[in-house]
């Protein structure tokens, strides 16, 4: 969409004419695009027949917005080009101290986040109890929700970011983890702490079982088969009703305990033991730290593995598989370990998810989830843990924030439900961010070993693998 400006900026007349023309074209285009889908609305009447309502006003707004936006983009292009040039000079300097220590600061913030929220809310409400109750939403919807996705994205990063294998069915392993926890805890009453590693092992086993036949495939064939496997697992969960209860899902899954101390209101509960007032928030805070530790475990393992021969082999595989084979690397087992390791973390996250929700159903494991996790990995900058975490926080936090925008009702009227626009904006944001930063937030990779000095490798050299 960005026009190439090949005219003198001084000729403002011709820029104006050009912008006007392009604006009109964009308006016409928008008219064509939206005339049916926006200009009419179809609704069922009482007899369940569709009737058309006309919305020419809305269509006019769409067309006008497109035309004006295009006009402005073209009209200001010379000016923006100019500014870009001057800014580029300024930006060429070392990453700032803040940026360097960002991981540490971020980590610290993550550890104090629940208490920070409680304190702020307590100050706001004027009572400790108010702070506790009010913080529930923030710890749960923002903290835990985001961290689950961070962990999933870090797990997928091993497969996609490091080994360069495009996996579009990652959510299958998440499902395996969640269902193994749900089923085993329901049937055998195993505790969370036993089932957590078991779920990881199951998921890894599934990773190997699914991976073994398909890893011979290259490129997009691998992508489609992983997608197919993801769908197969979901469809089995839906249809194998005897075991999985189908779309109803499994509810009443046992909660996690803190080394045997349950989070229940009774006398043996956590609150009673510590002499705290009863509140559901302790469990949430416990879960928050649990997922934080799990996510950090994923990060730690990833960082360690990258400095091991296996991690280097993954990255080498991403760069050039044939060269890997010429160096005596067994690419099949290397790929399988990447697949299994990634799947294992998916399984961990899945069992956590089941413990947190207390309910699992196939609804939670649709392709869209896989796509969102993959988008986090790519938007974050493949292979970069910090970038991926930021991408996850922005994407999940951003959409969660949309739920909060009640004030928009004042602007658009009471019928306006911001949630409806959540996924639309989410999709659009994905496009915009990708076009703006095709290599993701963190475009460079950190080498796993160095002789003199650790220098970041610019993203233009790294490849994205063909699988």
């Amino acid at each position: 969409m960005k026009p190439i400006v090949d005219i003198e900026p001084k000729e403002s007349d011709s820029v104006f004419a050009k912008a006007l023309k392009e604006g009109l074209v964009a308006g016409a285009l928008a008219l064509g695009l939206f005339c049916l889908i926006v200009g009419f609305r179809t609704e069922q009447n009482i007899r369940n027949e569709l009737i058309l309502t006309q919305r020419w006003g809305l269509l006019a707004i769409f067309v006008a917005v497109a035309a004006v936006a295009r006009f402005l983009i073209t009209y200001t292009a010379p000016w923006r080009e100019e500014r870009k040039k001057t800014r580029r000079v300024v930006e060429a300097k070392e990453p700032s101290a803040f940026r360097k220590s960002f991981p540490k600061i971020g980590l610290g913030l993550l550890f104090i986040y629940p208490f920070l929220v409680i304190l702020i809310l307590a100050a706001y409400n004027g009572s400790m109890m108010g702070g506790l109750q009010g913080s529930l939403k923030y710890v749960d919807n923002f903290g835990i929700q985001i961290l689950i996705y961070v962990m999933l994205a870090w797990g997928l990063n091993i497969v996609v970011g490091l080994a360069g294998l495009l996996d579009l069915g990652y959510v299958a392993f998440y499902a395996v983890g969640a269902y193994s926890y749900a089923l085993l805890s329901a049937h055998f009453g195993f505790s969370f702490w036993l089932l957590l590693p078991m779920a990881g092992i199951f998921a890894a086993t599934w990773g190997v079982i699914l991976g073994f036949p398909v890893l011979r495939l290259r490129g997009d064939y691998l992508a489609i088969v992983t997608l197919a496997f993801g769908e197969i697992i979901r469809l089995i969960l839906i249809n194998w009703t005897v075991v999985t209860k189908g779309t109803f899902g499994i509810s009443g899954i046992a909660k996690a305990t803190l080394f045997g101390i349950p989070f229940v209101p009774g006398p043996n509960g956590f609150a009673a033991l510590l002499g705290l007032p009863n509140s559901g928030v302790y469990y949430k805070i416990f879960l928050y730290y649990l997922i934080l530790l799990l996510a950090l475990l994923t990060a730690w393992v990833t960082i360690r593995l990258r400095r091991m021969p296996i991690g280097r082999a993954w990255e080498a595989l991403r760069e050039d598989e044939i060269a890997c084979r010429s160096l005596g690397i067994n690419t099949t087992t290397t790929k399988l370990t990447a697949f299994a390791t990634g799947a294992m973390f998916g399984g961990f996250a899945g069992s956590f998810f089941a413990a947190r929700q207390g309910f699992v159903s196939p609804e939670s494991f649709v392709f869209l989830e896989s796509a969102i996790i993959l988008a986090m990995v790519v938007l974050g900058g493949m292979g970069s843990l910090v970038g991926i975490a930021i991408a996850a926080a922005v994407m999940i936090g951003g959409t969660e924030l949309l739920r909060e925008l009640e004030f928009l009702k004042l602007v658009f009227g009471n019928d306006f439900t911001p949630e409806l626009y959540r996924m639309l904006l989410f999709g659009l944001a994905m496009i915009v961010v990708m076009v703006w930063k095709p290599r993701g937030f963190a475009g460079s990779r950190e080498p796993s070993a160095f002789l003199h000095k650790r220098k970041m490798v610019s993203g233009e050299f790294t490849k994205e693998g063909h699988g």
């Binding site: 969409m1 960005k2 285009l29 064509g32 695009l33 005339c35 049916l36 889908i37 926006v38 009419f40 609305r41 179809t42 069922q44 369940n48 569709l50 009737i51 058309l52 996609v160 495009l166 036949p213 398909v214 011979r216 495939l217 290259r218 997009d220 064939y221 992508a223 489609i224 088969v225 997608l227 197919a228 496997f229 769908e231 197969i232 469809l235 089995i236 249809n239 044939i322 392709f367 869209l368 796509a371 993959l374 988008a375 790519v378 938007l379 409806l420 626009y421 996924m423 639309l424 989410f426 999709g427 659009l428 944001a429 994905m430 496009i431 990708m434 076009v435 095709p438 290599r439 994205e464």
Partner: protein, 302 residues
């Protein structure tokens, strides 16, 4: 036997629709090596357009002959869906051309999410039923096999479109440009082919076929909803891969196969697992025939 033939006919009908969508996937993949994930939603959009045109015709004009109505639905849906696809390519894919391979994949996924939710927001989340357009059918003489007229419409329209499309790709300068871009984009550009335009046209053509598929889908099932892009999209992509991605006849063969597998599996085994069957067969075929049925075997360059 009659049952088998009946189910095969049903499968071929369904397969024709998949085949039409699959062509869009396979062409785009052939020319820029990208999985256009939004294609399923473009198909859904096409069906919605057709639905709105149909309603507009009945509301404003009243009784229109069915053939004319169908034709109008198809043509207008084709044009507008083509326009959508052109815009999508222009905004979301072209800026990323030549960059990181996964970037357009992610924008395509984003586009898919955005499109389906856009339709949800503008048209509401409920199913959109329309009254049946084509009724009745014929019974093959001396048997119990019936072929509904709408099935015949689907098969005939598909056949005609494929013939036209084959002509377009193999006999016109646009098709030649397209095939040359598929072989070597750089070289094609050096020889004076407008590569960007050719790629745009590929998207437009794929979207037009998808719009027809959408119209036929709407006519066959009589209902459409904003989520209907995903499953047919994935199935069609499966078909494209099954047939050998990049190969046009492969897409059609793959589509028909997927349709047949689905229909026969539902008829003889279990309707619940029909998608599992389709996907499993995809996995099995790819494991033994890694480049699909009609795809060129990928020679590993050392």
């Amino acid at each position: 036997m009659e049952y088998f033939i009946q189910q095969s006919i049903n499968g071929l009908t369904l397969g024709s629709i998949y085949g039409l969508i699959a062509i869009g996937y396979t062409m785009v993949y052939g020319i820029i090596g990208m999985i256009n994930f939004a294609h399923g939603d473009v198909f859904m959009l096409g069906a919605f357009m057709a639905m709105i045109i149909f309603l507009a015709l009945t509301t404003f004009i009243g009784g229109v002959p069915v053939v004319l109505a169908l034709l109008l639905m198809m043509v207008v849906a084709m044009l507008l869906t083509g326009l959508w696809s052109w815009t999508i390519e222009r905004l979301a894919y072209r800026p990323l051309r030549g960059s990181f391979r996964l970037a357009p994949l992610i924008t395509a996924i984003g586009m898919s999410i955005a499109l389906s939710n856009f339709v949800q927001v503008t048209q509401g989340p409920r199913n959109k039923p329309i009254p049946p357009l084509v009724n009745g059918g014929i019974t093959v003489y001396g048997t119990n096999i019936t072929i509904a007229y709408k099935q015949m419409v689907i098969i005939i329209v598909t056949a005609v479109l494929l013939a036209a499309f084959w002509y377009l790709v193999n006999k016109t300068s646009l098709g030649r440009a397209q095939r040359s871009c598929e072989q070597d984009r750089k070289m094609a550009a050096l020889l004076g082919i407008d590569v960007d335009r050719t790629i745009s046209m590929t998207f437009v053509m794929g979207a037009m076929l998808a719009a027809v598929a959408g119209t036929l889908y709407l006519m066959f099932y009589g209902v459409i909803s904003f989520t209907d892009g995903f499953v047919p999209g994935v199935k069609a992509f499966t078909a494209a891969v099954l047939g050998g991605i990049g190969s046009l006849p492969g897409a059609v063969v793959g589509g028909l196969l997927i349709g047949l597998i689905e229909a026969l599996w539902s008829a003889y085994f279990s309707i619940d697992y029909k998608d599992v069957a389709a996907f499993s067969i995809l996995a099995i075929v790819l494991i033994f025939l890694p480049s699909g049925i009609l795809g060129r075997p990928e020679v590993e360059k050392v």
